[in-house]
């Protein structure tokens, strides 16, 4: 159990770093920490987990496996029509032809935004997300507000992300209810003719690959056109 002193410390720490945890978790943090430590110790002593392997998994997601992979994929799709076609045909196969992106298992599907259609991805039942190309999902993606509202009122959700779409645009929401995983190919911003893949990748935001954002424009703005 957390003592008053623990709570006071946690509070000042959170305040200083400008982020907070949901659901009053802070007061139970010490209890949770102890439970996690206990579970890991017992599982390790009994040979079910290797703590060095856990370190390696954490390191992989903190350094190698993140939205930078998806950014490279989207930049190539913008720059290379043949790759774009291959990505839409079978995204798992297409991504695995890129040597600089970590390998992807089966069932990755790419869907493209057009002038007529905007795509947005959610998992209403849990938090399915294309880990291999986007890393681990942000807290909002796993939160009850997003999971409940994305299928019911995606335009309202999009407006909270600063994205306003014309009424005539189709909004297509993909609920990831099985082991297929979706990545959105956002529209390539205007004014980027002749840009290299490296330059283009800088314009691809994580949210634009989930569908709650658009790609950045060359002038640094992210608003809908």
């Amino acid at each position: 159990m957390a003592t008053e002193e623990d709570r006071g410390h946690d509070h000042s720490h959170e305040h200083a770093h400008g982020h907070s945890h949901e659901h009053g978790e802070m007061s139970e943090l010490s209890d949770t920490q102890l439970r996690v430590r206990s579970l890991e110790t017992v599982l390790a002593e009994k040979g079910y987990v290797d703590s060095a392997a856990l370190d390696a998994i954490v390191e992989a997601y903190e350094t190698r496996i993140g939205p930078q992979n998806g950014q490279r994929v989207i930049a190539r799709a913008w720059a290379d029509p043949g790759f774009r076609a291959a990505l839409l045909e079978d995204a798992s196969v297409a991504v695995n032809t890129m040597g600089n992106v970590s390998a992807v298992g089966s069932h990755l599907i790419a869907v493209e935004n057009t002038a007529e259609r905007h795509n947005m991805v959610v998992c209403t039942l849990c938090s399915c997300y294309p880990w291999e190309v986007l890393g681990l999902p942000p807290t909002w993606y796993k939160s009850a507000p997003y999971r409940s509202r994305a299928v019911l009122e995606p335009r309202a959700v999009l407006s909270e992300f600063g994205v306003i779409l014309p009424d005539e645009t189709e909004v297509r929401v993909w609920d990831s209810t099985a082991e297929t995983r979706y990545i959105v190919i956002p529209e390539r911003p205007e004014g980027t003719d002749g840009w290299s893949e490296e330059q283009l990748a800088e314009l691809v935001t994580r949210n634009s690959m989930i569908g709650t954002g658009l790609a950045q424009r060359p002038d640094g703005k992210t608003e809908a056109s």
């Binding site: 579970l39 009994k46 290797d50 335009r155 099985a178």
Partner: protein
Amino acid sequence: MSNTIHDMGGMHGFGPVKEEANEPVFHTKWESRVYAMNRAMGPLRLWTIDEGRAAQEALHPAVYTNASYYQRWLLGLEARALQHGLVTKEELASGKAIEANDRPNRIFKAEDAAGLTRSSFDRDPQGEPVFKAGDRVRTLNINPPGHTRLPRYARDKIGEVEAVRGCHVFPDSVANGKGDDPQWLYTVVFDGQTLWGPDAEPGLKVSIEAFEPYIEAV
């Protein structure tokens, strides 16, 4: 369980979506350990991804909503480790292994983290797919007591098959201890008004991934 709090699509009352600026991959060390333990235990094949989901769905709705995301993963992992007899309550309380055990045949090692690709859920089909792209179908009105991946908002609704996604492990079977029972998987798309009535947002279409036993011809 199927008709419980995890099935959130279409619910009201949770408030706005709040994005955290410059969010780190993990907020605390314990979150990273919980995630890594779950990933490392998967390849031991002691349980399946759907059994893992079912363990979280079995949490009381009040516990589910009050726990943070990684607290739910912790509670789900503890529950499975206990159910499968890997650990005892006494061991978790003391933080020490007490009882001897047979070591697992394989263990996730640090070098395995080089790949970290997801495993495939494709399985050999038992027959040809019944449906094809363009077919109109109705989802079944089912309320099973066990695990399912057909969300409530999309039950007993008419939609259109948009794509056949291959033949996959059937969650409703495997999570309930009845084996893979592979089934064809389809993307089925619904009009917003079909799901939400005349006040649906304009131009809305929502798709789910529906296993063949979830749908029937219209």
